[in-house]
């Protein structure tokens, strides 16, 4: 109990403001993106266009794959129609859990974390979103290769088994819908901004000087640097804060 109250007091102290800001931004971002907003139909329509365009390039003749939005306007469902010479198979795909949630969680993490420059943040975001949008392809291939006799993609059994495992570990909800974006975010940070990741890890482990969670001033964009100077103890606001404190 004492440990908890001590941790709470430390968390509320000023030097931990950067960590607190990250946690609050992340919580706000997660609530915002995970709120059950209506508008799934638009996502389903967009996904259908992409899948149909891709499928028209890959399949021809009696073989075809089509996707179209299904259900009421607030529904995130899309119906996949798979056809070959032998018949037709219809599969319902819930687009909110795959791929919306992983992408949204990744975006919330990236936007909440103080990466220093907008360019770096954009690169991380673009890279992650591309990978997370490509992961459902694994599920699609699995679907097209396993629905015998309506099978459009023939895979050797070992590859099919590997695909089942990969889908279970990377694509299928529920747990991995959150774990995969988290791991991907850590990976992209480690590739693009190892210093920031190291500081975050040290912060989480309680091994750093408080307040160092934010990136070093030299890595900040000119605008953020200006803001940092204003807020620092020697800056305009800092001086004002100190004089108020003295009074």
């Amino acid at each position: 109990m004492e440990f908890a109250s001590e941790a709470w007091m430390r968390w509320n102290s000023r030097p931990w403001a950067a960590e607190r800001r990250f946690a609050l931004r992340l919580a706000f971002g997660l609530v915002l993106v995970l709120w059950p907003w209506a508008g799934g139909h638009r996502v389903a329509a967009l996904a259908s266009e992409v899948v149909n365009a891709g499928a028209s390039l890959v399949f021809s003749g009696p073989e075809s794959l089509q996707m179209h939005p299904e259900g009421p306007p607030d529904s995130w469902n899309a119906l996949l129609t798979i056809r070959n010479g032998l018949g037709t198979e219809r599969v319902l795909w819930e687009l909110r859990r795959i791929p919306y949630i992983p992408t949204a969680v990744f975006a919330a993490l990236t936007l909440a974390f103080p990466l220093g420059s907008r360019k770096r943040r954009f690169v991380v975001l673009a890279m992650g979103v591309m990978i997370l949008q490509a992961l459902p392809l694994l599920r699609l291939i699995l679907l097209l290769s396993s629905n015998a006799p309506i099978r459009l993609v023939g895979l050797p059994s070992w590859l099919h088994s590997a695909l089942v495992v990969a889908c279970g570990a990377l694509v299928f909800p529920p747990g991995m819908a959150y774990a995969v974006p988290l791991l991907l975010w850590l990976l992209s940070l480690s590739l693009l901004d190892r210093a920031a990741l190291a500081l975050a890890v040290r912060s989480a482990l309680g091994l750093h000087e408080p307040g160092h969670f934010a990136p070093p001033v030299s890595r900040l964009s000119p605008k953020s640097r200006q803001k940092h100077r204003r807020n620092s103890p020697h800056g305009k606001r800092g001086r004002r804060r100190r004089s108020r404190h003295k009074r």
Partner: protein, 177 residues
């Protein structure tokens, strides 16, 4: 070759590679499409039935009409425990991360055992709350089941891992002779 070994020599990279390999192995063992009537599927069926029995026992503390048959729990509502209901993703990620982290093996084993126990308890709580969500707010079931609880479980696993790292990193106190 030397650049690869230099890269693998970095503690962060070594941890990431170990973590990925262990997690891949555990996910393969769990998610491999074994034959439908093989021993592995029988084992998995027995494991899920056992899980359902434990959940049923927890639910019986507050509701005595709960009956478990196979992997299905019957009461005022019915719940079926299937492959992903056992929070195995969280278990695999936690066990892989702790095992991949450098530290004494005995300490890591203790941390893994303790962590899996805590995740197991959280998962029992999850299933028990889902039972009441089905009863009281059925329309919220999909959201709570597939979106809210998985987020809480993964967040709890991450917190658990970060907390256990402090224990793993702590220097053992020498015993007085």
């Amino acid at each position: 070759m030397s650049s690869t070994s230099a890269l693998l020599g970095r503690p962060g990279v070594r941890f990431a590679v170990r973590f990925a390999l262990i997690a891949a192995l555990l996910f393969t063992l769990y998610g491999f499409p074994y034959g439908t009537y093989g021993i592995s599927e029988q084992w998995l069926g027995a494991y899920l039935s056992g899980y359902a029995e434990v959940v049923g026992a927890v639910l019986r503390l507050v509701e005595d009409k709960v009956v478990v048959q196979g992997n299905t729990i019957y009461g005022a509502a019915a719940l079926r425990i299937v492959r992903t209901c056992d929070a195995m993703e969280a278990n695999v990620l936690f066990a892989s991360a702790v095992t991949a982290f450098p530290g004494p093996v005995t300490r890591k084993m203790a941390v893994v055992a303790g962590g899996l126990l805590i995740i197991g308890v959280l998962n029992l709580l999850r299933i028990a709350t889902l039972y009441y969500v089905v009863l009281e707010h059925e329309q919220a079931f999909a959201f709570v089941h597939l979106e809210l609880w998985p987020l809480l479980l993964i967040a709890a696993t991450l917190c658990l891992f970060l907390t256990s790292l402090r224990f793993l990193r702590a220097t053992p106190v020498p015993r007085a002779t």
